[in-house]
């Protein structure tokens, strides 16, 4: 049989289209990652930049390589602060993701079951907060949660709180959870909504017709069929929450331990770039498993 060309446009233009995302990834992911990886293997120094060795010319490449070592990684296992930070981050991310699911699922379900003409408006309302800067919205929560903030004023006004009392949420883990759940909710709701909205309503009628009451039909039909959305939403939230820095920094207290904050402290506070880089590389490794679950699920759906 004659060879059949797979594409009518096979040629330079096609290669350009394929190359663009790879060039992007190379420039803005692979290259920075290699730089970080290299710094993580270096030693800290009082210099500019604050680490050694530096590669000057290819003559000293053997000498350069011999100075690289894994002592920063070894240090991460010695000081319990880092392991605790990682575990605490994973715990915070897990609890936040569960909370997001518990709040996001009913929202997405209500949106998907709303009359067709309302749905674009409801989706719009979920996306609306993106029109304001993320940072400003987190700052707004400080205004609400701080002891003399809006929440205290409200609770005092409706008499649930005496004039001398104040809410003690700001600078606690609770404030961090509130901030995270608020900020990430659209990322949870949208994939869930996408999964639920395309579900065929007659499936539930069929389940009812076969003797299955509505609540049970939800667990046997709706929920299993929305699982791709659940996994997508959970991973899209879990992965960035683990490395979240801004929210714990602005809303969390001294006892809030998250790896993003630890990394920041190493980098800017202690000016230990090599150790901070090691923390970053390890964070990526920690997240490899959830990222793979997400990728796998996306491929199955696609």
């Amino acid at each position: 049989m004659a060879e059949i060309s797979t594409s009518p446009h096979a040629g330079p233009a096609r290669w350009l289209v394929v190359a663009v995302p790879y060039v992007w990834l190379l420039l803005f992911f692979v290259a920075p990652f290699l730089i970080i990886l290299k710094i993580s293997l270096s030693d800290t120094a009082i210099a500019m930049p604050p680490y050694t060795p530096l590669l000057d010319g290819f003559g000293g490449i053997g000498d350069f390589l011999s100075q690289l070592d894994f002592e920063n990684y070894a240090f991460l296992t010695e000081d319990p602060l880092y392991i605790q930070s990682y575990l605490s981050s994973l715990r915070m991310a897990f609890i936040s993701t569960v909370l997001l699911l518990l709040i996001g699922y009913p929202m997405a379900l209500a949106m998907a079951r709303a009359p067709t003409r309302w749905r674009p408006t409801l989706v719009m309302m979920v996306i609306l907060p993106f029109w304001t800067s993320f940072l400003i919205r987190v700052y707004a929560w400080i205004g609400i949660l701080k002891p003399e903030g809006l929440l205290t004023v409200l609770l005092q006004a409706i008499g649930l709180m005496g004039p001398e009392e104040q809410v003690q949420i700001y600078r606690t883990d609770t404030a961090v959870f509130i901030g995270i759940v608020y900020s990430y909710l659209p990322f949870m709701v949208l994939p869930l909504y996408a999964a639920l909205e395309k579900m065929d309503g007659t499936l539930l009628e069929a389940a009812n017709d076969l003797g299955c009451p509505p609540l049970k039909a939800f667990w046997r039909i709706t929920f299993p069929l929305s699982l791709p959305g659940v996994i997508a939403g959970a991973m899209i939230c879990f992965i960035p929450i683990t490395g979240e820095f801004v929210i714990p920094d602005l809303l969390g207290g001294a006892e809030t331990l998250m790896i993003g904050k630890t990394l920041w402290t190493e980098f800017f506070g202690n000016r230990d770039w090599p150790l901070a880089s090691a923390v970053a590389v390890l964070l990526l490794l920690v997240l490899v498993v959830p990222i793979m679950i997400f990728q796998n699920q996306q491929q199955k759906v696609g």
Binding site: D200, L203, E205, D209, L210, C212
Partner: protein, 385 residues
């Protein structure tokens, strides 16, 4: 091997028995959606073990009527009785009816056997009982080899069978079929129609089918209700619907028919002889043997099926009545039948069908021939509605 036939089908006509108790009764049912009336003050009795069709064009209210029986919609007025009990307000999952959906509505995340077992699991049957019933159903629809497959891995015909098996698994008192064969191709549809009849007869269940396909309704049903704009126009056996439609609407909807408007010239009813109605269809004299409620001078319609019109090149003996002369304007060759469109002098078209009983490529009658159309007095009928 010869196909084993089920029990011999005996004449079944409980609706003719005045003492028979209807199995399902729609009583003064009205369903409105806002300003739109989908079903209007409808009364209908369906008997046990009946294969009953609701036939009509889309939007005539047939699906709404079925969904009210399944419990997905509540009637605005009136009530539905099942074995004498009012089932208004009973939610769908507590009704002894099962439905086969037009889209099949198979659960995509469950295998064929899980789909079939779904309804049985709701009844808290033992695992063994469920497995046995699932096997029985798979055998009934000839899908034993496909038990572990997901619906996505089946063909359209196989999915249709799974949907049927799932809706039959619980042995519902009434099986509701919503356009069940619509998505199948013609050959498969015909086969499946006969299988449906077999299954219905073997299991002894009551089937209510909604369809817009008149051939399908004619083939499978004991009785057909022809619906139009939310009301039932006629309920009868397929033969009665076809041979004795009660209105222009039913006559036109079922099969092919010539309808000519006309007026009653005279009526005679001599003792010992069949009553005869004489019509004048705008210059064409017609006599029909029929009881007729209309009186002399009334405008009525004369209707006759094409296969009951004889077409000849030679002039018949009697041309005073029930005879028309015209030119063959078009011929439709259908294989088993040829349909001749004959244009009369005044431009009216009468269709005549002739069975192609001999193997001829060139028919004796062809385009442009002048032909005579004749029909006996008992072939046509007078429609007053």
């Amino acid at each position: 091997m010869a196909k084993t036939l089920g029990p011999v089908k005996r004449k079944f006509a409980p609706w003719t028995d005045p003492n028979a108790v209807p199995f399902i009764r729609f009583e003064n049912i009205t369903k409105r959606y806002g300003d739109f009336t989908a079903v209007s003050n409808l009364n209908l009795d369906i008997y046990e073990r009946e294969f009953f069709s609701l036939l009509g064009p889309s939007g005539c209210g047939k699906t709404t009527l079925m969904r009210m029986l399944a419990g997905f919609e509540e009637p605005t007025e009136g009530r539905i009785l099942l074995q004498g009990h009012d089932i208004s307000g009973v939610p769908p999952h507590r009704r002894p009816t099962n439905m086969m959906f037009q889209s099949y509505a198979l659960f995509p995340h469950m295998s064929v056997e899980k789909n079939i077992a779904f309804g049985l699991e709701q009844d808290n049957l033992s695992k063994g009982e469920i497995a046995a019933r699932v096997q029985e159903m798979l055998k009934l629809v000839k899908l034993e080899d496909f038990a572990k497959r997901k619906p996505g891995q089946l063909s359209g015909g196989q999915r249709q069978r799974v949907a049927l098996a799932r809706s039959l698994a619980k042995r519902p008192k009434v099986l509701l079929l919503d356009e069940p064969l619509g998505a199948l191709d013609r050959k498969l549809r015909e086969e499946t129609q006969f299988e449906l009849m077999d299954i219905q007869h073997t299991l002894g269940l009551t089937f209510l089918i909604v369809t817009h396909d008149q051939e399908e309704a004619m083939t499978v049903s004991d009785r057909i209700a022809v619906m139009d704009k939310g009301v039932i126009v006629q309920v009868d056996t397929p033969a009665e619907i076809y041979e004795a439609p009660n209105s222009r609407y039913v006559a036109d909807f079922i099969g092919d028919i010539n309808i000519m408007e006309g007026g009653i010239v005279s009526k005679s009813a001599e003792p010992g002889q069949a009553p005869v109605v004489t019509l004048d269809c705008d210059g064409l004299p017609v006599t029909v043997e029929q009881e007729c409620a209309a009186t002399t001078g009334d405008r009525v319609a004369f209707a006759i099926r094409p296969e009951k019109v004889r077409i000849t090149l030679d002039q018949p003996e009697n041309t005073a009545s029930n005879a028309a002369y015209g030119e063959v304007w078009d011929i439709g060759y259908l294989g088993d039948f040829s349909v001749f469109l004959v244009s009369l002098a005044d431009g009216r078209i009468i269709r005549a069908a002739q069975a192609n009983v001999s193997r001829l490529v060139d028919r004796p009658i062809t385009f442009g021939d002048m032909v005579w159309l004749t029909w006996p007095k008992d072939a046509g009928l007078v429609l007053t509605r």
